[in-house]
């Protein structure tokens, strides 16, 4: 069976899988951005306890595999009476994992904001929270955006793992179709192309234009 013939027959399933992939991507992206902000700022906090918690979180999730974390959340947490639905478990594992990597980016970006900005905010008597929110974070965001573009591609790639806990994403559909038809080259080829299109034609240009917009908003374009 040719590739086009194959697509003509199976595109509805691949498309529905793609939607699930996009949904998981969106949910875990929101979660990981929130977590990385919290953890990144905690790593810079003056309180040793907050710093220690953030360091533990980051090292724990960067030091083990996403697959191990996913299985742990999905198979082990229920034993403690915490049953999580598979879609949520997938988003949670990916969000926690990528959030740990993102925390380092947030920390690095905040530290990269020029010293003078901190001092100027202090000079006009801004409270620390106000200074962070109105002066430092907006600039740190612009500094961090290019690295976040790469991290979001990693996140998109990570979503393929949720197929292993049978969330019906595009990878899961591909495996099912492969199991029924043995058209491996077509089906896995199609899956690869779908991921490539999502990453190269949607994610990368989107992040580029966001970078441009943010830079022009800050007047540093």
């Amino acid at each position: 069976m040719g590739f086009l013939e194959f697509l003509a027959q199976y595109w509805p399933r691949l498309l529905s899988g793609t939607w699930v992939t996009i949904l998981i991507f969106a949910c875990s992206a929101v979660l990981s951005i929130a977590l990385s902000m919290i953890a990144g700022l905690c790593k810079l906090a003056p309180t040793p306890l907050l710093r220690a918690v953030a360091v533990c979180y980051v090292e724990l999730f960067r030091g083990t595999s996403l697959l191990v974390q996913l299985y742990w959340i999905f198979f082990v947490l229920p034993l403690f009476g915490l049953t999580i639905e598979k879609f949520t478990a997938g988003c949670l594992a990916i969000g926690l994992n990528i959030g740990a990597y993102g925390a380092e980016l947030v920390k690095g970006a905040v530290l990269a904001v020029p010293r003078g900005q901190w001092e100027a905010a202090l000079a006009i008597n801004m409270a620390p929270a106000q200074r962070m929110r109105r002066v430092i974070l907006p600039q740190a965001l612009v500094i961090a955006l290019p690295a976040w573009g790469n991290l979001l591609i990693e996140l998109l790639k990570a979503t393929a793992l949720v197929s292993l806990i049978s969330v019906s994403d595009v990878m899961f559909e591909a495996k099912q179709i492969n199991g029924q038809t043995f058209l491996s080259a077509q089906v896995f080829g199609a899956a690869l192309v779908i991921y490539y299109i999502l990453a190269r034609c949607l994610l990368t240009p989107g992040m580029r234009s966001l970078e441009k917009r943010m830079r022009s908003k800050l007047g540093s374009a």
């Binding site: 724990l60 990878m171 991921y195």
Partner: protein
């Protein structure tokens, strides 16, 4: 409430340690493939063949923006369609080696481009051939620049080996799954796998950091 069973943990530990050996073998041999292949990819990208350069560039982008899991399935299921029978081990090594070769080629490229331009000119002035220049002048200076990136990807490849469990490579995750289904206990095997990963990847990441600092000190930057 589920209780942690220490007896069971001790009982399964030998099997897990044996599987850890397999994981390390998988990671190291995958990395060996990636190192060699990555160098070839990096050198082609610096060559004169424009079409080839463009093709390799696109291939690297493609492999870097699609999930390793899909690539593992692709290699494992598609190669037999072309009459090549690959064992899970071989196809796993090939997939992970190719994936990381693309990442390493970027590291190499960065390292080679980091060598000061004057070195090339000096080599030309001394009438060295291109090959001589690479082997005797450029690559020895590029290696220290590449070490940190290479170290990070070595830890990365180690953390990605659990993905090979899906095609039946008997590494750590695969063994933990087997133990879990044999005994209907997932808490101890999965948690132990997480601990083993932490115990290996945290010290190695620390070592990479130390090495990076040492090299920076030695290079005087």
């Amino acid at each position: 409430m589920f209780k942690w069973d220490w007896d069971f943990t001790w009982q399964i530990l030998p099997r897990l340690i044996h599987a850890t050996g397999n994981t390390l073998i998988a990671a190291l041999s995958g990395y060996a493939i990636a190192m060699v292949l990555g160098l070839a990819l990096a050198l082609v990208q610096r060559g004169n063949a424009t079409v080839l350069r463009w093709l390799i560039r696109e291939l690297i982008e493609f492999i870097r923006s699609t999930p390793l899991l899909v690539q593992v399935f692709f290699v494992f299921y598609v190669a037999p369609q072309f009459g090549v029978r690959l064992s899970p081990w071989v196809s796993g090594m090939l997939a992970i080696g190719l994936h990381y070769a693309c990442y390493l080629s970027e590291v190499y490229r960065g390292g080679i481009e980091g060598v000061a331009h004057g070195q090339w000119e000096a080599a030309t002035a001394l009438n060295m051939s291109t090959k001589q220049t690479y082997v005797r002048i450029v690559i020895p200076q590029a290696i220290p620049l590449c070490i940190p990136g290479m170290g990070n990807y070595l830890v990365g490849i180690f953390k990605d080996t659990p993905m090979l469990s899906v095609i039946g490579v008997a590494e750590l995750m695969h063994t933990a799954n087997a133990i879990g289904t044999e005994n209907y206990r997932f808490l101890e095997p999965y948690t132990s796998v997480g601990v083993i990963f932490l115990a290996i990847s945290l010290p190695s990441a620390g070592l990479v950091n130390l090495l990076e600092r040492y090299l920076r000190h030695r290079l005087g930057t």
